[in-house]
Every structure is written in structure tokens, then in C-alpha cells.
């Protein structure tokens, strides 16, 4: 692999985190669209006040500007803010249903529960065995009705609506979401699966995923967002909040297969308590544009997190992943590897930061981003960063942008392997280190299919 080593370290300008206020964008959303206010429903006062509060923040926050550090490489001026409508019942009836193949288990042979969130509503299945364990795995609306106390415990604890315009938008307007709660000490044997299905053109989708794994509990959870490609822009804004309690363990597999007309914005964060363990797999294949913030807060001593990301862009896709590993307690470990390949005129941005707080001694942080650029019109930006305030730590990082080596290609061709297959082998080989970290056949297969589809 011909690799160009990028060793630039950019110290991120510490801002107050709040974008400069300006009149709210020209989105056509109104306060009446807040789900807990709609239909005159007597929702829990907690959800209602949370969404109302978020709406206020949404109104006061400006759209992100290219002058802001986090948005410097992702220009959203072409976002047709005024064009998005909510998928009401009438519209929903005309939209395609989720294809069966997307509901097949991605992890293991079956699943213990599945939630399908679509414009037509939520469909929830959970095995009796798991329900008996006291596990709650349900959609947001049901959670508000049946588990208000759990919702109160988990909602808005890890991601704050005020973190950005799109976070506030999702917090205020998300009618579709998931609450997964695993009680103390419970091990869920079978994986749980949710699918957010968002078909159609000119629509706006909001999602809110809440995971609370209580102390000593353990679960594998797969969440996918998907839609078929359509012609007009569609918007998605989402929040993912993950809480991993003391000594608890969460394997979170996340797959983004949005249609290539979707402008996708998400704020995601995991919070790890003492001795907690997180294995986060993050696959990004779809959307026209993505700006994603994924953070890991290692708050408890001895907590460990691993994040394995892969992306493959083609056409005019633009995926921007902003990752942050925050070591906030001593003896914490993080290991992040993001690998991506780029075809056509597509573009990727990865901006990573390891932050070590002053008293987070004896921490071990690793971050790497590797890119394989397959077309001369594609471009990958890779910006690692370290911000270390403790003195007894081990932090390493690496970033590379390379292209297919002609000698490698010739070698494979000389064995009778045609050009496209030779390129596919090299690309698969490039992703192998990340696939090795994903012990789930279904996820690997899905990714391999994407490689075959996207490779020119």
C-alpha cells in the first residue's frame, strides 16, 4: 500500500461549544410538530418539558457555519432547509415498506428482539425470555406511556440538546426512537436489533436512540438506519445516547445505509462508568452528506472502549466523522480504528481527538484512520489530534491516505485476476483489519456487498 503519512497534529480551538446565535434557519418546522404536544396527548410531563426545552434551544441556535472548526470541511449551504415535510399518515401510506432482507439478523442466527421504526409507526417484538428478565426494549412513544421513570433516567443524560442545531432539532422533534434498558446484573443472551426505515423524498426524519445498560449488565444491540435512494433531499437528524454502568458491557453495532439523497446529522455519545466495557462498531455506507459526532466518555476508572469504523463512499457522497475519546478517569483505555475507501468524486473527513483530563493518569489511548482513495477525483481528509493534560499516559495515533499500489495490482493481474476483481481483493484486504474486529458474519457480508456494488 502506498501510504502518505500524515502526522499533522492540530490542536483544536476550544470553543464554548455553542455556535454563534443567529435567526433559526428557514426550516419549516413549527412548535406544533413536537410529538409530545401533538394530538393533545397527555404524555409524561417529563418528555414534554424535555422536548419543549429542546425546541427553545433549537430556536436560539444558528445553523452551523463553515467558519466553525468542526464544520470547516463540511459545507451545508446547499441543504434545502425549507423543503422538508414530516411524513404524515397520508404520505406514509404511499412509501415503500422496509425490505425483508434488511430485517434478517446481522449478528448471530437470530435475535431476541426487533423494532422496526417506519413512517407507518413502530413494530416491536421482544422474546418472552428477555422480557421476563426485566429488559425494556421498546419504541419511544411506548416508553413514554409505559416506562416514564426509565425514560426520565435515560433521556438527555448523555447527549444535551444544546450541543448543536441538529441535536436540538432531533431532541425536540423525534417521535421515533428506541429505549433499551437492561437491569442491573442481567445478561441478554440474544442480540437485539432495531431498524429505522426512512423512505421518500423531501421528508424530515428524527430519531432518538437511548441505551441504558445498568451496572453489571451485558447486551449486544444492532441499530441500522436505511432508505432507498430517491431524487429530492431528505433530512435526518438523530441522537444516540449510550450509558454503560459499572462493570457493564455493551456491544453496539451501528450501520448507516441511508439513500444517497439523505442529509444526515447525528450526535452520539457513550458514557462509561467504572470498569465498564464498550465495543462500538460503526459502519457508514449511505447518505449524500453526513456530519456525525461520536464521542466516548470514559468517566469511570478502569473503563475500556473500542470503536471500529468503516466507510465506503462513491458518487458525490460526503461523509464527515468527528470522533472524540475523552479519558476522564485514571486507568482508562480507548482504541479507535476508522478505515475508509473512496470512489468517484466522493469525499470523507475524519477528525479525531483523544482528550486526557488532568487526573486521568495511566490511561492508554489509541486512534488511527486509514484511507484508500480509489479515484483521482476523490479526497480524504484525516486529522488526528491529541490533547493531553495528564503526565503519565500512553497515547498514540496515526493517519494515512493512500491509493492502490500499481505493483500490487500488476502482481494480481499477472495471476489471471481481472482488473476489477484485483481491485476488489486489494480493497477487501485493506478492510481486513477492521473486519477482524467484527465477529458478526451478517455485518461483514453487508459490507462486502457494498464493496462489490460501489467499486468501479
Amino acid at each position: 500500500m502506498a501510504e502518505r503519512k500524515v502526522t499533522r497534529v492540530i490542536k483544536r480551538v476550544t470553543s464554548t461549544g455553542r455556535p454563534t446565535a443567529e435567526p433559526a434557519g428557514t426550516f419549516s418546522f413549527t412548535k406544533e410538530m413536537i410529538p409530545s404536544l401533538a394530538n393533545g396527548a397527555k404524555e409524561t410531563t417529563f418528555l414534554r418539558s424535555y422536548q419543549q426545552q429542546a425546541w427553545k434551544q433549537y430556536q436560539s441556535l444558528g445553523l452551523p457555519q463553515i467558519t466553525q472548526e468542526a464544520w470547516r470541511r463540511t459545507d451545508i449551504r446547499n441543504l434545502q432547509t425549507g423543503s422538508f415535510a414530516l411524513p404524515d399518515k397520508k404520505k406514509a401510506a404511499k412509501l415503500p415498506n422496509v425490505p425483508k432482507r434488511l430485517l434478517k439478523p446481522l449478528v448471530g442466527k437470530g435475535h431476541g428482539g426487533q423494532i422496526v421504526l417506519s413512517p407507518n409507526g413502530a413494530n416491536v417484538e421482544l422474546s418472552k425470555t428477555i422480557a421476563k428478565q426485566g429488559v425494556v426494549f421498546t419504541d419511544l412513544a411506548t416508553a413514554a406511556k409505559k416506562h416514564p421513570e426509565l425514560l426520565k433516567k435515560a433521556l438527555g443524560q448523555v447527549v444535551k440538546p444544546g450541543e448543536g442545531k441538529f441535536a436540538a432539532m432531533a431532541a425536540a422533534l423525534a417521535s421515533r426512537g428506541v429505549l433499551l434498558y437492561v437491569p442491573k446484573g442481567i445478561t441478554v443472551d440474544e442480540p437485539l436489533h432495531s431498524m429505522f426505515w426512512g423512505p421518500g423524498s423531501g421528508l424530515a426524519y428524527f430519531s432518538h436512540i437511548l441505551v441504558w445498560v445498568d451496572d453489571g449488565a451485558s447486551v449486544t444491540y444492532v441499530h441500522e438506519a436505511a432508505s432507498p435512494t430517491a431524487d429530492q433531499q431528505t433530512l435526518h437528524a438523530g441522537i444516540v445516547e449510550l450509558h454503560v454502568g459499572e462493570g457493564a458491557s455493551l456491544r453496539f453495532v451501528e450501520l448507516q445505509s441511508w439513500g444517497e439523497h439523505v442529509w444526515n446529522f447525528s450526535h452520539e455519545r457513550a458514557r462509561l462508568m467504572r470498569d465498564a466495557n464498550l465495543d462500538w462498531i460503526f459502519g457508514a455506507l449511505g447518505s449524500r452528506l453526513t456530519k456525525n459526532f461520536s464521542e466516548i466518555n470514559l468517566e469511570g476508572e478502569g473503563s475500556t472502549a473500542r470503536m471500529s469504523g468503516f466507510y465506503f463512499t462513491d458518487g458525490e457522497q460526503h461523509l464527515d466523522h468527528d470522533t472524540q475519546q475523552n479519558h476522564l478517569a485514571p486507568h482508562t483505555t480507548s482504541d479507535l480504528l476508522f478505515k475508509g475507501a473512496l470512489e468517484d468524486k466522493s469525499r470523507s473527513v475524519w477528525q479525531g481527538m483523544i482528550h486526557v483530563a488532568p487526573d486521568a493518569q495511566r490511561t492508554d489511548g489509541y486512534q488511527a484512520n486509514r484511507n484508500l482513495v480509489l479515484s483521482k477525483h476523490a479526497r480524504a481528509d484525516s486529522i488526528p489530534g491529541l490533547e493531553i493534560q495528564a503526565d503519565d499516559v500512553r497515547c498514540t495515533h496515526g493517519a494515512t491516505v493512500g491509493k492502490i499500489d500499481e505493483t500490487e495490482l500488476f502482481y494480481l493481474l499477472s495471476r489471471g485476476i481481472p482488473n476489477r476483481d484485483a481491485r476488489r481483493l486489494i480493497v477487501e484486504g485493506f478492510f481486513d483489519p477492521i473486519m477482524q474486529r467484527i465477529p458478526y458474519e451478517g455485518v461483514r457480508e453487508r459490507f462486502q456487498q457494498a464493496i462489490v456494488q460501489k467499486l468501479k
Binding site: M1, D405, E406, T407, E408, F410, Y411, L412, L413, S414, R415, G416, I417, P418, N419, D421, A422, L425, I426, E428, G429, F430, F431, D432, P433
Partner: protein, 258 residues
């Protein structure tokens, strides 16, 4: 019986003419040795025959099975039965030998029959084990990433394994002996000998006579300055070992001045 006929081949590399009207014929069933000092154009010949894009053919032709193979891309040349064992095999990270070889075999099958569904995995495993046993290789080799972190000897044995699996009609071995200790050399040579037969022709490119103790050539060619300067029997290699290249150079100069 197919033969590879190289006729008046001229090749430029980076604007310099390296092959200067080379003539050579390699037949199935015979092993040819090609010797020559550094810079005489041996590797250029090997790469050109396989179709490396960095080598520019300015004139001449290479005929194999009734076609001028210079018009074909490297994969098509391979499908026709040509093989090059690289002097410096290339590492392909993340691609196992087994995966790579299965892809190569299936590509060959598909080239012959576009409807082919590929060699079933159990049959492929059996074939690979057979070939590995033939070359006295540990079966765990199949799971390793192609040439990644291989020792010099392992790389060359992997080349021979690929050759044995793809079963070419004409193989070019580009300095397969260089950098090997005597045990590795013997091992590699045995691998070549095992393939020897009426359907296998080879061009063994080497600096040194010693591999020819194990792979006995039928014909020996000496290459100087982009051309074949001398052709003879196995004893030519011994004479070269003894006397060096100068006497051939002198002979060539005489030819030029005459």
C-alpha cells in the same frame, strides 16, 4: 505443443532502450536458462513478457498459441498459460494465500467458460493441500496474508506454490534463486522439478550457476546488452561460472567489428 516465440523485441524503460532486438523461443517440455550480468535486460524481458505497464515495447512481437500476446493484458496472458515468478514478490496485506489462489483459479476457469460457477470450496482445499504437500509446505501457510512478513525463502516458495496451482504451460522464473540459502534453494528447485514434464516449459533467469545444479536446463542462453549473445547446452553455464562474461563480450565485439 505450444511455444513462445520472441521476435526482434525492442523495449524502452523510462526512455532508455533496454531490449535491443531480442530473439528467443521457449518450447513446452524444455527448460531454458537465461544468464547474464546485471543490467543486461533479463528482468525487463520477464516483465515485458508478462505485460508490466512500465515497459514500453517499441517493436517486435511475442507469439504464443497463434497470437501476438503483446496485445493482451497481463490477466489474459495468464489465462493463455503464461506465468511469471517474481524476483521480488509483492505483499498484499489482508488477502490470504487461499483467498487469493481461489480467486485466481476461478478467474482462469471463467476465462475458459464464462458460465463457470467456480471451483467448489472442498475441491479447492483438496487441491491446495495436494500442492502444498508436493512442495513440503505447512498447511497453515494457506491462511497467511500473501507475502506479508514472509522471509525471502517463504516468498519464493509461495511463488512456486502459485505456479504449481495455476499449472502454466510456460513459466518465467525471475531470479527465483537469489537471496536463498542452500536449503531453501533446494526446496524451490525441487518444486520446479516436480512440475517438469512434456507440458511445462520454463525460462529460468539467474545470475548463478548453482540453481542449475538442481534444475538441469536443456538449453542455456547468455544475455548481454539487451540481446541473446550465446546459446548452448548445460555446459555453457559451467563455462560461464569458470570464465566469467568477458569472453562472450569479446566474441560479441568481434562480431560487431567484423
Amino acid at each position: 505443443m505450444s511455444e513462445l516465440v520472441i521476435h526482434e523485441l525492442r523495449v524502452n524503460v523510462g526512455g532508455n532502450e533496454i531490449l535491443k532486438g531480442l530473439d528467443l523461443t521457449i518450447e513446452q517440455g524444455r527448460v531454458h536458462a537465461l544468464m547474464g550480468p546485471n543490467g543486461s535486460g533479463k528482468t525487463t524481458l520477464a516483465y515485458t513478457l508478462m505485460g508490466h505497464p512500465g515497459y514500453e515495447v517499441t517493436s517486435g512481437e511475442v507469439l504464443f498459441k497463434g497470437q501476438n500476446i503483446l496485445d493482451l493484458d497481463p490477466a489474459e496472458r495468464s489465462h493463455l498459460g503464461l506465468f511469471l515468478a517474481f524476483q521480488y514478490p509483492v505483499a498484499i496485506p489482508g488477502v490470504s494465500i487461499a483467498n487469493f489462489l481461489r480467486t485466481a483459479i476461478n478467474s482462469h476457469r471463467k476465462a475458459k467458460d464464462p458460465e463457470d460457477k467456480g471451483l467448489p470450496i472442498p475441491e479447492f482445499r483438496k487441491l491446495l493441500k495436494e500442492k502444498m504437500d508436493l512442495l513440503k509446505m505447512d498447511h497453515s501457510f494457506a491462511g497467511r496474508y500473501l507475502n506479508e512478513g514472509f522471509s525471502g525463502g517463504e516468498k519464493k516458495r509461495a511463488e512456486i506454490l502459485q505456479m504449481a496451482t495455476l499449472n502454466p504451460e510456460i513459466a518465467i522464473l525471475d531470479e527465483t534463486d537469489s537471496g536463498l540459502d542452500i536449503d531453501a534453494l533446494r526446496n524451490v528447485a525441487e518444486g520446479v522439478e516436480a512440475l517438469r514434464g512434456p507440458n511445462f516449459g520454463a525460462l529460468v533467469i539467474t545470475h548463478y550457476q548453482r540453481i542449475l545444479n538442481y534444475v538441469k536446463p536443456d538449453v542455456v542462453h547468455i544475455m548481454l546488452n539487451g540481446k541473446i549473445a550465446e546459446t548452448g547446452g548445460p555446459d555453457l553455464a559451467l563455462k560461464l561460472e569458470e570464465k566469467g562474461y568477458d569472453w562472450i563480450r569479446e566474441k560479441q565485439d568481434e562480431k560487431v567489428t567484423a
